[in-house]
């Protein structure tokens, strides 16, 4: 690197005394673009929406009604039933992800991180493929596969001698939500896999060699050495899964429609918000009530994230290599 350009740079940066006072222009320059775009396009509209939840349309004019919308959402028997149904469905959606997606993701990453394994990149590429597909594709593909009309799923089960197990899973109230959760797991498993994989291969060789010298290998090495080191990554993945699941909408919308059938058994907060916000069939959209649901979703997500930040993350020990 030549000295000249860096010297000119030096001159254009703020003079030394200014730094000592505490104002450093470069911090502002580094932060400004991100903060401006983020504030204007994301934060202000979000607050605009939250604000809407405190108003109601009366005779074509906007009237401040305080918390009346929230009282209506939780007090009106029909609305509150739909709300609690959506919330509990959403919780189950999340539980399935935590129990299926993350353990399988960790298992796959652990196997892939073995440097002596052959065809690593082929497997990694293949397993990540569903993650890059859009909800439109995923929803339709699985609808076609599980459709009794086409018969791919029954045919496959027949090959395994399990044809009697086939049910129109997406059409049955008892199975539809779990089926959709598993489809979502199928789609997103690449994300925990990749994050854990990156964490695993960045564990320094010396630590693993030291463990091997002490006779800690194989499964024991994974449980005793690697797992504690990747716990912060698992924490991040869990909170991302939580947030993603409680924002979910597209997959249900594409495969079951805004009514989240059969009989609202796959209704989650996202679809409930959509129906209320934009209206469906004969019911008119109510932006104010929609904004109220959006605020409730915000609250749920906020609680989950606070639990992560203040309870879980504090207990995780970080190791610096």
């Amino acid at each position: 690197m030549s000295l000249n350009p860096s010297q000119t740079q030096q001159r254009s940066s703020p003079p030394k005394p200014a730094r000592r006072v505490g104002f450093r222009l470069h911090i502002l320059v580094f932060l400004a673009p991100a903060v401006l775009v983020y504030t204007a396009i994301m934060i202000l509209p979000l607050f605009g929406t939250m604000q809407l939840s405190l108003f109601q349309e009366v005779d074509n004019s906007r009237v401040f009604v305080g918390l009346d919308n929230f009282r209506k959402l939780l007090g009106d028997p029909r609305l509150s039933a739909t709300f609690w149904n959506a919330l509990s469905n959403n919780a189950w959606f999340f539980v399935v992800h935590m129990l299926v997606q993350n353990p399988i993701g960790i298992l796959l990453a652990a196997i892939l991180s073995n440097p002596r394994l052959r065809f690593r990149s082929v497997y990694r590429t293949a397993i990540f493929v569903p993650t890059i597909l859009s909800f439109v594709i995923v929803g339709f593909v699985w609808k076609l596969i599980l459709s009794p009309l086409w018969g791919v799923a029954p045919d496959l089960l027949e090959m395994a001698g399990l044809k009697s197990l086939f049910k129109p899973w997406l059409g049955k109230e008892a199975y539809a939500l779990t089926t959709l959760s598993l489809i979502s797991v199928w789609q997103f498993i690449g994300i925990p896999m990749m994050l854990i994989y990156a964490a695993l291969i960045s564990i320094p060789e010396e630590i693993l060699e030291a463990a091997e010298c002490d006779g800690i290998t194989g499964m024991r090495q994974f449980w005793k050495i690697k797992l504690p080191l990747i716990l912060p990554s698992i924490g991040i993945i869990s909170v991302l899964t939580f947030v993603g699941n409680f924002n979910a909408f597209d997959l249900i919308y594409v495969s079951q429609g805004a009514l989240a059938g059969p009989d609202y058994s796959t209704d989650i907060l996202g679809t409930f918000l959509y129906r209320t916000f934009f209206g469906f069939q004969l019911q008119l959209g109510d932006p104010h009530l929609g904004a109220t649901i959006a605020s409730m979703m915000f609250l749920v997500i906020l609680i989950g994230v606070c639990i992560y930040l203040f309870v879980i993350q504090r207990r995780l020990r970080r190791y610096e290599f």
Partner: protein
Amino acid sequence: MSVATRSVGRSVASHAILLTYATIALFPVILILINSVKSRKAIFRSPLSLPDAETFSMVGYETVMKQGDFLLYFQNSLVVTVVSLFCVLLFGAMAAFALSEYRFRGNSLMALYLALGIMIPIRLGTVAILQLMVATGLVNTLTALVLVYTAQGLPLAVFILSEFMNQVSKDLKNAGRIDGLSEYRIFFRLVVPLVRPALATVAIFTMIPIWNDLWFPLILAPAEETKTVTLGAQVFIGQFVTNWNAVLAALSLSMVPVLILYMIFSRQLISGLTAGAVK
């Protein structure tokens, strides 16, 4: 000898698990691709067999080509994704550097403020965003989408990149300062190259939701000339829902470009990840 047997056994088990899962991951994709080039009868009679001379048919693709403007949709998606990605990575890395490198008043408050966007989906503000775009005359432009996706991608990018930037050696940066490098140079010359693997990871995670988003194209840019591939495919499938050939062909067409992009990009990601591991 028992050690050798055990390691062979483990390697077989590893391959068995990976192969099983890879099959589960790829089966639906392959199923759609092979059936999209079969005749209608063959699609229903033997969905699992490969097309042969008798069952081969491109009728689905012909319908799609006649009806939809997929090339334009593809171009729109590409422009939106690439420009948003560039903005997210540049702005995100700059902000992450400021937050992880300097101690200043309000640092953790600013970090929390920017992280807020990970928790709240930008969709919750859709109505206000639409009002904003109408007011600024950006409705039905790709710029509207780029702005929304940049705002959407920034929080996670800043969050992940700060984690990685915390790991960049302080000694190295201080050595740079002693050599007279400005803060901008330290960022662009020292830190950015060191966090390149993290940038690749962030790029993949940012790119996917942008490319696949249906919501904002539908609301902010539904015009024919600004339609993205995802929206185009959704509309097309909605219209041709009983024409299985056309549906399968449309699904394949919207899948293949992403698959190709991913194949190119995944090499970068993998080499980035391995480079990061060596450090």
